[in-house]
């Protein structure tokens, strides 16, 4: 505002200095501003309000307004982000509705006394069998560990260098893959038929 006013005043003063030269050139008399009405209106033209106002002010207010709008949007986004994410439901823990249907219940058979006795005795026999199996396994593993310990002892007595080399872990061992035993042995040159499947698992995103 002040700059505009000062610019206007400068222009007025220059007009004042300029005009008398014109006048003097024309009329040869020392010049004054208030010579004639036409000069005065020309001088006031540049300093009127509409010409001073809008185009220069727009450059400051609009960026400010846009900034304010952007800040408000960011604040709204932050408020939304503060909400904790929805937990993904574990589908294994919810019984699907179709299994609560009563028509699906199998008739519970009435077991005779002999049958239930036989079952109880078989279960006890099985637990005894498994116990002996477990003990045998534990003993076998214990013997193997003892054998390894003795081997390392003897190796240490032999040479420290070989002992340290033996203790180092083998990085190439894992991942170790091996096909376990199946019911029937594999057939040579057997081509399994290609099957196709549609994967309908639900994928949740947080």
């Amino acid at each position: 505002m002040s700059i505009a006013v000062s610019r206007a005043l400068c222009r007025v003063l220059s007009r004042q200095t300029a005009v008398p030269t014109n006048v003097s050139s024309l009329m040869g008399v020392d010049g004054h501003v208030s010579q004639g009405p036409w000069f005065a209106s020309v001088l006031t033209l540049k300093t009127s309000a509409p010409l001073r106002a809008e185009p220069k002010k727009k450059k400051k207010v609009d960026p400010r307004r846009e900034q304010m709008v952007r800040e408000r949007l960011k604040k709204k986004l932050k408020k939304l982000e503060r909400v904790p994410p929805e937990l993904i439901p574990i589908e294994d823990f919810t019984t699907p509705a179709k299994y609560m249907d009563e028509t699906r219940v199998r008739g519970a058979p009435q077991l005779p006394f002999e049958e239930s006795e036989r079952r109880a005795l078989l279960l006890k026999e099985w637990s005894r069998y498994k116990q002996t199996q477990h003990r045998a396994e534990m003993e076998a593993v214990g013997l193997a560990v003892e054998a390894q310990r003795e081997a390392l002892e003897e190796l240490r007595l032999e040479s420290e260098e070989l002992y340290q080399a033996a203790l180092r872990p083998d990085p190439l061992l894992f991942p170790f893959n091996h096909q376990g035993p199946s019911y029937t042995p594999p057939k040579a040159q057997y081509e399994a038929p290609e099957g196709k499947y549609n994967n309908i698992t639900k994928v949740y995103t947080q």
């Binding site: 699906r104 199998r106 069998y129 390894q148 081997a151 190796l155 203790l167 019911y183 594999p186």
Partner: protein
């Protein structure tokens, strides 16, 4: 520490301070001496190993196992228990979709064959489509299964040769070779003598790869030996430098391989080892060969 403490409790302060100083010095003195003695012992052993070579010859051997290919036969008790479990699970379960379909189809058949059968009503419910019954589907599935012929489980009823890898598919087998040790040729796990500059595991790998006319691909299970067999040479052969030999065993699983039938290889189960290995050797080897 108990005795000095009781003394400190009885005496006045200045004596207490001097006592503490003395005990402190004593402890540090003792510690220093013990440290230096330990260091001396260590250096002595090191000089022993570096200066004087050990009187034992070192060998690296490999216990190559072919893991079972098929599952073992069930014991009678295992059979009974498996049946019982199957029965109990069936009793405690709900009807599956397929079983429900079977029931519905059978009900519909009975309704069709009844006297007051109203076909218009039925077809209005089911949209007049020709549905495939669940029983028909079961039959087609059975037919498809019959087309597939699986390989037989007990292939070696006739008796495959002992050198074949295919025998006793239900058990894990160990490789035995015949090698000359000293003056005799005996059956043992493949071994090779240790050379300077290689680890014992590399010796075992060399022992396996140097088997004539055999190409076995094995995965060794780590750098640690699983067992050791130490024996002294007979008195004629014994010298100042070599009293005997130590054989270190390494475990490996067979991944792929083949061998010609000419060479004397044996693939034996743990129970059959007794017929081929010498008793002291067998005693040590039996421990780490697991039949699990």
């Amino acid at each position: 520490m108990a005795a000095p403490c009781s003394r400190m409790a009885n005496r006045p302060l200045w004596q207490f301070i001097t006592n503490v100083r003395r005990t402190g010095l004593k402890h540090t003195g003792v510690r220093q001496i013990s440290l230096s003695s330990a260091c001396r012992a260590a250096t002595q052993t090191r000089s022993k190993t570096e200066g004087v070579p050990s009187p034992w010859k070192l060998y690296g051997a490999v216990c190559l196992q072919r893991l079972p290919v098929i599952s073992q036969e069930r014991n009678p008790i295992e059979d009974q228990f498996a049946e019982l479990m199957h029965q109990m699970e069936l009793e405690r379960s709900l009807l599956s979709d397929h079983e429900q379909r079977l029931l519905e189809d059978s009900e519909r058949m009975t309704r069709k064959q009844a006297d007051n059968y109203d076909s218009d009503e039925e077809e209005a419910d089911y949209g007049g489509q020709e549905t495939i019954t669940a029983q028909d589907q079961e039959d087609t599935w059975e037919q498809k299964l019959k087309h597939f012929q699986p390989a037989l489980r007990d292939r070696d009823v006739g008796g495959t040769p002992l050198g074949s890898v295919e025998r006793c598919l239900g058990d894990s087998l160990v490789l035995l070779v015949q090698q000359t040790v000293g003056k005799e040729t005996i059956w043992l796990l493949p071994q090779a003598q240790w050379e300077a500059g290689e680890t014992l595991r590399q010796t075992a790998e060399r022992g396996l790869s140097s088997l004539p006319e055999a190409d076995f691909k094995a995965t060794f299970l780590g750098n640690t030996p699983c067992g050791v067999y130490r024996y002294k040479f007979p008195k004629e052969v014994r010298t100042e430098r070599c009293v005997g030999a130590k054989v270190f065993f390494f475990k490996a699983f067979l991944s792929a391989g083949s061998a010609s039938q000419k060479e004397p290889f044996l693939w034996v189960k743990k129970t059959e080892l007794q017929g081929y290995l010498k008793p002291p050797y067998l005693e040590k080897v039996d421990r780490f060969i697991l039949n699990l």
